[in-house]
Symmetry: C2
Subunit: 332 residues, 2 copies
């Protein structure tokens, strides 16, 4: 079965672990033998940033490390047994962006990526090369090879001046506490979907929207020209998984993002934001919408089902994914 | 007193510690108060190399770390309490040049340097910025802001093919064991002396050639157009310190380099190789030549003196430097 998943970072990576488990694949690494199942993840790259001359792709790397068995599951991001010597030294030099901690192991990834990018390789080829080592068992496709960077319009705390800052600065430095007036995926208008992205959507047996941030993760992927149209015209059913449980984000700070685009932090509001594929006028995307057990959501034209939505481990997540398959009417 | 020293890496850095001590300056770091003495080091950059997208300047960094109190005095190069996580990870990715170990602390230096170079700052400005942190107490001037890289003509052990490889590959990977047919300072012909280099030579009260490698350290600095002429026309006396003691290099593998240019590994042969300033025909550089205690060297036109030449510590090195001052007829 061909499963295509639209994902962001940590939540997306955990969801992908569940997709693998639901298909009977080993949780980390690539299967030893050829499998009839193919999982393709279309990964948000709007969080990507140049820092210290290094190209950092947090969502791609989180997926790669997590699915390759190298992530720090306690901290939730970055690599296991990570050290911080380089960041410490950069600080001693008074380097900027000291709010963004770069692990030493992580820096090796960025060194290889940055060098390949400077040599002219597209991000998709770089990602494939890096995955040669990590063998995530999922084809990780950057949403685009073009540079797209989410900027956040805020009033700077120092001067009160209204300015657009990089998403990472808003997210990591200000911990999403600065009220966001808008999110702008800079470069998205001119970006092309990455190699294989539209094909993975068109050729899938089932398409899932991971319970990632609907604005700055899934929303940014959807901002790449052609992706929405591909989802709307795909022959496979599209099922989304709500990142909101009990009026709060599953993880991360999605509420701060939803507020900026005028969407309530409820499963119903996010479901309506994605909209129904049936609804030709509204450019909706969903056939099915999975929400947390015991909740209710009325999303016109979309089949809504409530199931346990906690990603406490691959087994629990696999159960969620099986429920999504079931809602989509597919069976591995 | 204005002292200008032509230096390479480890030996040059240790020699500079002695120059500071001989002038009554603290061994590491910058003096707390203004001093009447100014030390300027013209540093070889022919060993510099791009690796993993990072610009590495081994001699500049060795001088900076050593004079800033951050070097690993036991290992002889790199930083104290260094770790190797990034290099280890690069190897796990199968990255090339795994024979060149880059410490994590060291990488922070290279990240800042590479970013500044890519932003258009010349190496001299980058070096000044890095020295803001290390406060070496010596003005470190790259011999040139232009790219000059020493290549070594060898017969490759795998194929027997004659090829020019980067000096670092010869020195670190092959430990100078591959017979060198020639050393080529690629780019030197078109290079300009770095800002302040010719002025530091012209305006000095005394000029010293450190006991660094006469071929690939001092020799490369001398290959930069204008440097030799500046030394020959300087008003200050020029005193060289022999890197050869008892027919063997003080440290490093200078013998392998001298053999390639047809110079014997003796203090006399190296002194003659540098030559006398008095000798107009031969483009010589020296007024004085300091050799190891108990040795003899006949260098026509050059005053030779034998003194203890072991750089066992700043005090012993300071005694060497005082002997050089004495030979030059200057007094701090």
């Amino acid at each position: 079965m061909k499963v295509t998943v639209i994902v962001g970072g940590v939540g997306g990576a955990r969801f992908l672990l569940g997709v693998k488990a639901a298909l009977g694949l080993p949780p980390v690494g690539a299967p030893d033998t050829k499998t009839e199942h193919q999982i393709t993840a279309v990964v948000n790259t709007g969080d990507d940033i140049w820092l210290h001359g290094l190209r950092i792709c947090p969502d791609l790397d989180t997926c790669m490390y997590t699915l390759g068995g190298g992530s720090d599951t306690e901290r939730g991001w970055g690599q296991r047994d990570e050290t911080w010597t380089v960041s410490h030294e950069l600080k001693a030099y008074g380097a900027d962006a000291d709010w963004f901690a770069l692990g030493d192991k992580d820096i090796a990834t960025h060194l290889i990526r940055s060098r390949m990018l400077r040599a002219g390789y597209p991000l998709s080829a770089v990602t494939e090369a890096l995955c040669d080592r990590w063998r995530p068992g999922v084809t990780l496709l950057p949403m685009s090879d073009d540079r797209v960077e989410t900027h956040v319009v805020v009033d700077l705390p120092s001067s009160g001046e209204r300015r657009a800052i990089h998403f990472q600065e808003w997210w990591v430095r200000y911990r999403a506490k600065l009220p966001a007036h808008a999110f702008v995926p800079v470069g998205a208008d001119e970006a092309k979907a990455g190699p294989g992205v539209l094909e993975a959507i068109a050729g899938a047996d089932v398409i899932l929207l991971a319970p990632s941030n609907p604005v700055v993760s899934i929303g940014t992927v959807l901002a790449v020209p052609g992706v929405k149209a591909a989802l709307r015209s795909a022959s496979a059913p599209v099922v989304g998984v709500s990142p909101i449980i009990g009026g709060r984000p599953l993880r991360g700070m999605a509420d701060a993002c939803l507020a900026a685009i005028g969407v309530d932090t409820t499963a119903e509001a996010v479901g309506r934001h994605y909209g129904a594929r049936k609804d030709d006028a509204a450019e909706g995307l969903l056939d099915g919408w999975l929400i947390a057990e015991g909740e209710r959501a009325d999303v016109p034209g979309v089949e809504v089902r409530d199931v346990p939505l906690i990603m406490s481990g691959p087994d629990a997540t696999a159960a969620m994914v099986r429920a999504a398959f079931d809602l989509a009417g597919v069976r591995p």
